[in-house]
């Protein structure tokens, strides 16, 4: 065990969970917030902004990139990371659809 039984859930449920999982760490929230604030960014910026070691930041960036929420462009010795607008929008759509469910009848029990 220790591994998720994804096969027993719907694609939608798995997709929501995957997006949520990447948001499940404050460092990745901080990275995204910083990327939104200064619309362009390099990894070094984040290392001084967030007090985590460079390999740790790099690893978090990798996960965000894997989900497609950010993209990185090599610029000399630096890598410029920024939000991937298309996938950010898609993620929002998936998430909103789930979150916007509302309670039909207030308290049931």
């Amino acid at each position: 065990m220790g591994l998720v039984k994804t096969e027993i859930f719907s694609d939608e449920q798995n997709e929501i969970a995957l997006f949520a999982k990447v948001f499940g760490h404050p460092a990745r929230i901080a990275i995204l917030q910083h990327l939104f604030k200064i619309n362009t960014c390099v990894c070094g910026d984040l290392v001084s902004e967030i007090r985590l070691a460079q390999p740790t930041i790099s690893q978090h960036l990798k996960e965000l990139k894997y989900l497609g929420l950010i993209k990185g462009t090599v610029e000399g010795t630096r890598v410029c990371y920024c939000i991937n607008p298309e996938n950010w929008a898609r993620m929002k759509h998936v998430f909103f659809q789930f979150l916007e469910q509302d309670i039909v009848d207030a308290d049931c029990c």
Copy 2:
């Protein structure tokens, strides 16, 4: 290591991450969707609905309850679980504020 350095992040960042983490498993998404569908529910329902063992479901319910997203009321030998409207609304507020950020200038690099 293996533990998150929450102390270096803001309360807001930690709160978003905590809510996201609980959504980071398809079983918990499935539980919430089911609770929304049939506005009242017992654990046994979920065990037959979701093909996971009873202790596993119970554990997922516990996490959702800990975050305050659901509440359980004992009814004889059964426990009636349902969405906690107040905290669900609060979670939505926190999440929307984060998600609704939008890209100011399309592609930066």
